[in-house]
C-alpha cells in the first residue's frame, strides 16, 4: 500500500517536472497559412505549430496520436472552419480532453467566420461530391481575406493573452501596413492576368482567380473531391478545345497527372501552384507565398 502511494507520488512529481513552465502561448494551427499568420502577429509571445503541411490535403487528415497530444497542450486552435477540417478536427477536440479549444470557446478560432465565402451552394446533396454547405473554405488564397482574418486573430490573441494585448495590436498594425503595400505590388503585377481563362484541378484556387480576375470556369474534377477518370478528362478536353484556356493549374498537394494529361493535349502549360506556406523554398511565409503565386502565374503567361 505504502509503495503504491510512493509510486503515485513519484509519478505525479515526474509529470509536473515534465510540464514546461507556462511561457509562451501554445498555438496549434490547422493549416500552415494560419501558423504563418499567427507567427506574424504573435512573434516570440507564442510557440506556433501547424497540424498539417503544404504536402497534405487539408480535407484528408488522420487524427493521429501526435496531433491529439498537440491539441491536448494547445491554448489556441487557429483553423479555417467552414467544414474544411470536419473529418479530423472534431476528433482532436474530443480526444484531447482540452476544454480551452472546444467549439464555442475563445481558444477555437475559425477564420471562415470573419470573411464572406464564395461558391455557396444553393442546396447540398452528397451526389454533388464533397461540397461544403458553408461555402468554399480555401479562403486564404485571397490576400484581402488574410488582412481581415489578421484583424480578428489579433483581437482573439489579445483576448486570450490579455497581458500582451498591446503587443498583438502593435504587431497587427505593422503587419497590416506591410501587407497593404505588398498587395498593391501584387495587384499591379497581376494586372496582366485579368480576364485570362484557366482550368483548375479542384475549386481550391477559386479565391485566387476571383481576386486576380482570372476566369476559372473549367474544373478537372467531375465533382469536388472526386478524382477525374480518363473518360471525364476527355469531356474536359472537348470543352477546352471549344473554349481554350491559357494554363492548367493545380495545387502543390494534388497529383499533377490530370493537369499534365490535359496540358499534353491542349498545349496550355500545366502549372503547379504553392497552395500554402512551405510548399516551395520561396513560400517560406505569407509574403513569399504570394510572391511565388504571382511569379508562377506570370511565368506561365509568357
Amino acid at each position: 500500500m505504502k509503495s503504491i502511494r510512493l509510486f503515485l507520488l513519484a509519478a505525479c512529481a515526474l509529470l509536473l517536472a515534465a510540464t514546461p513552465a507556462r511561457a509562451a502561448l501554445k498555438v496549434l494551427a490547422c493549416e500552415p497559412e494560419w501558423a504563418a499568420l499567427t507567427q506574424e502577429l504573435a512573434g516570440d509571445k507564442a510557440s506556433v505549430s501547424s497540424a498539417t503541411s503544404a504536402k497534405q490535403d487539408p480535407h484528408r487528415i488522420e487524427a493521429r496520436p501526435s496531433l491529439i497530444a498537440r491539441a491536448r497542450n494547445a491554448d489556441l486552435l487557429v483553423c479555417t472552419g467552414a467544414e474544411l477540417e470536419v473529418g479530423w478536427l472534431p476528433l482532436l477536440q474530443r480526444e484531447s480532453g482540452n476544454a480551452r479549444i472546444q467549439a464555442g470557446q475563445p481558444g477555437y478560432f475559425e477564420a471562415a467566420r470573419f470573411v464572406s465565402l464564395i461558391d455557396k451552394p444553393r442546396s447540398v446533396d452528397r451526389s454533388m461530391g464533397d461540397v461544403h454547405a458553408a461555402g468554399n473554405p480555401h479562403l486564404h488564397l485571397d490576400p484581402r481575406n488574410i488582412a481581415r482574418v489578421a484583424d480578428a486573430l489579433a483581437a482573439r490573441l489579445a483576448q486570450i493573452d490579455s497581458a500582451n494585448a498591446g503587443h498583438y495590436a502593435a504587431r497587427n498594425r505593422d503587419f497590416q501596413n506591410r501587407w497593404q503595400q505588398a498587395m498593391a505590388r501584387w495587384q499591379a503585377a497581376g494586372v496582366a492576368l485579368r480576364g485570362v481563362p484557366v482550368a483548375t484541378h479542384h475549386k481550391n484556387l477559386n479565391y485566387l482567380a476571383n481576386w486576380l480576375g482570372m476566369k476559372a470556369d473549367v474544373t478537372l474534377e467531375p465533382k469536388p473531391g472526386v478524382d477525374p477518370s480518363v473518360a471525364y478528362l476527355g469531356e474536359v478536353l472537348a470543352k477546352v478545345r471549344e473554349q481554350p484556356v491559357k494554363m492548367i493549374l493545380h495545387a502543390s498537394y494534388e497529383s499533377p497527372r490530370a493537369s499534365r494529361w490535359l496540358a499534353q493535349r491542349t498545349g496550355a502549360p500545366a502549372v503547379e501552384l504553392p497552395y500554402t506556406v512551405g510548399a516551395s523554398a520561396a513560400a517560406k511565409d505569407l509574403f513569399g507565398l504570394y510572391d511565388e503565386l504571382i511569379d508562377r502565374l506570370l511565368g506561365a503567361l509568357k
Binding site: 498539417t52 496520436p65 476528433l91
Partner: protein
C-alpha cells in the same frame, strides 16, 4: 463608417481627463490602449460586415429564386443547425461458406453478429451525435435488424473538464485493445478477427463509466479506466467488470505514425452461455460462472507519403489477446442427442488461452485498397474438473484463418468489397469462403479514429 466616430470618442475621452502634464510612458500606454481598442473594434466591424454581406447574399439568392429558395435554404440550415449529426449505414452481403462460424476449443463470450449464408442484410446502423451543451457530448448507435433494435452505444461524454480528462458514461464500446472501438462498417475486413470473435464476442461493450486522461507530454500518452456491469454476462449489484488501458503513439518523420497499447480487463461471469463439442462429438450447452481476465497488446502503424493518405497509404495492425478463466462450468443434459453430458454435470473449469492476428491494408489508388489478414488461436491449457472426465476435454487443434480482401471506394461514403478466406477455425473443416459486401453511409461525415 462608425470607425472615425469611435476613434474620435476615444480620443475625446482621453482629452476630457484633467489636463496635466503627461509623461512619455503614459502617452505610450494610452496609444497602446487606443490601438487595442481599434483592433478589437475593427475585428468586430469586419465580423459584422461579413455577416451583413452573407445575409445580403442569401437575401439575393432568395429573391432570385423565390419558389426554390425556401426548399433550398432548408438543408443549409440543417447542416449547421441544432440538429444532431445523423448517419445511417447501409450494409449487406453475399456470403458463401460451409461452416457456421463455429470456433473449436473456446467458450464463446457474448454474442456474435454473424449473419447467415447467401444474401443477407447486415445490421443497419443508425448513429446520432451532437454537442449537448458546452459541457457534454452525446452519441448513440443503434443496430437495426428484423424485429429488433439493439443499442450498441448510448453515452454522454464530458467536454469541459480540461486538463486532459474526459469522462464517459452510459453504454459504450470499451477502450481496450485497438479493434474494439470500431463498429462493423469501419472494419477493414468483412468479419472481426478470430481472437476477438473467440474470446470477446466480436467486441466488448458495457454499461458503465470510463475515465480517460491524456498526459501533457509532447508524445501521445493516454490512460483509461472503466468500471461497469460487465455487458450482459452478469446481473448483480456489485460491479461486474474493471478495465485499464494505456496508449502511446507518435509520428516518425512526415510519413509514418504509430500507436501501441496495453489493456487489462477483468469480467465476472454469471452463467455465461456457450457450447462445447463433447467426447461423444455432440454439442453440449454450457454455462460458465467465474472470473475472466484479459490482457491485450496492440500495435498500429500507418504510412502515407508526406502524410497525405489520399493517393497511397498503408496500414499495419496486430493484436495479441490472452484470456485466463477460472470458475465453475455446468453442462446441460444432452443425452437425448447421444451426448456425453448425461443428466447435466457441474464442475471446475480453468483455462488459459490466447490468440493473435496481423493484417496489412494497402491503398494503392484513391479508390482501391487490398488487404491480407492472418489469424491464429492457441487453445492453450484447458482444465476441466474430474466431474467432466470422459465428457468434456481439450481438443488437440490450432484454429487459423487466412483472409484476402479488395475493396473499391467510389467516394468516402461508399464501399464495395470482395473477400476470400480460408477458414480453419472449426476442427475438421477447411472452409473456403467468399464474401461480397457493400457498406454505404448516408448523412454526416463519419470522422473515424486513427
Amino acid at each position: 463608417m462608425f470607425k472615425p466616430a469611435l476613434m474620435a470618442a476615444a480620443i475625446a475621452s482621453l482629452f476630457a481627463s484633467p489636463a496635466h502634464a503627461v509623461s512619455d510612458a503614459e502617452w505610450a500606454a494610452m496609444k497602446d490602449e487606443i490601438r487595442q481598442m481599434k483592433a478589437a473594434y475593427e475585428a468586430r466591424i469586419a465580423d459584422l460586415e461579413s455577416r451583413v454581406k452573407s445575409a445580403e447574399a442569401s437575401a439575393q439568392s432568395a429573391e432570385g429564386e423565390a419558389a426554390q429558395a425556401t426548399a433550398a435554404s432548408a438543408p443549409l440550415a440543417a447542416a449547421s443547425g441544432m440538429n444532431p449529426e445523423v448517419s445511417l449505414i447501409l450494409q449487406g452481403r453475399y456470403h458463401n461458406a460451409k461452416g457456421d462460424g463455429h470456433i473449436t476449443g473456446f467458450l464463446p463470450a457474448g454474442h456474435a453478429h454473424g449473419s447467415g449464408k447467401g444474401f443477407s442484410l447486415d445490421h443497419t446502423e443508425l448513429a446520432l451525435g451532437a454537442g449537448i451543451d458546452p459541457y457534454f457530448r452525446g452519441y448513440a448507435n443503434f443496430a437495426i435488424a428484423d424485429g429488433e433494435v439493439e443499442t450498441e452505444e448510448a453515452w454522454v461524454q464530458t467536454t469541459a473538464l480540461g486538463h486532459g480528462f474526459t469522462v464517459k458514461g452510459g453504454r459504450f464500446l470499451s477502450g481496450i485493445g485497438y479493434a474494439n472501438e470500431f463498429h462493423p462498417h469501419a472494419w477493414d475486413f468483412a468479419n472481426q478477427n478470430l481472437a476477438y470473435a473467440a474470446m470477446l464476442g466480436e467486441h466488448y461493450g458495457q454499461d458503465g463509466l470510463q475515465v480517460k486522461w491524456v498526459a501533457p507530454t509532447p508524445m501521445f500518452l493516454e490512460f483509461g479506466a472503466e468500471i461497469g456491469q460487465g455487458a450482459d454476462w452478469s446481473d448483480r449489484n456489485r460491479l461486474g467488470s474493471q478495465a485499464l488501458f494505456a496508449h502511446i503513439g507518435d509520428d516518425l518523420g512526415d510519413s509514418h505514425s504509430w500507436r501501441a497499447g496495453l489493456s487489462y480487463l477483468s469480467v465476472r461471469a454469471d452463467g455465461r452461455e456457450g457450447h462445447w463439442d463433447d467426447d461423444n462429438d455432440a454439442e453440449a450447452e454450457t454455462f460458465f460462472s467465474g472470473k475472466s481476465r484479459y490482457w491485450i497488446a496492440d500495435l498500429v502503424w500507418k504510412w502515407a507519403p508526406d502524410g497525405n493518405p489520399k493517393y497511397r497509404n498503408f496500414k499495419f495492425q496486430a493484436e495479441y489477446v490472452r484470456r485466463s478463466e477460472r470458475g465453475e462450468l455446468e453442462c446441460e443434459d444432452n443425452s437425448g442427442d447421444g451426448g456425453a453430458c448425461a443428466g447435466g454435470i457441474a464442475g471446475d473449469y480453468r483455462a488459459r488461452q490466447s490468440g493473435w492476428y496481423a493484417q496489412g491494408v494497402y491503398q494503392f489508388h484513391p479508390q482501391w485498397r487490398v488487404g491480407y489478414r492472418y489469424d491464429s488461436l492457441n487453445i492453450g491449457s484447458v482444465n476441466f474438473g474430474p466431474e467432466f472426465s470422459g465428457v468434456l476435454s481439450r481438443p488437440d487443434f490450432t484454429p487459423r484463418r487466412h483472409s484476402l480482401m479488395v475493396d473499391y471506394n467510389p467516394s468516402e461514403f461508399s464501399r464495395l468489397r470482395l473477400q476470400l478466406a480460408q477458414d480453419r477455425a472449426e476442427q475438421g473443416l477447411t472452409d473456403n469462403q467468399v464474401t461480397v459486401q457493400y457498406i454505404h453511409s448516408l448523412g454526416a461525415h463519419g470522422a473515424h479514429k486513427f
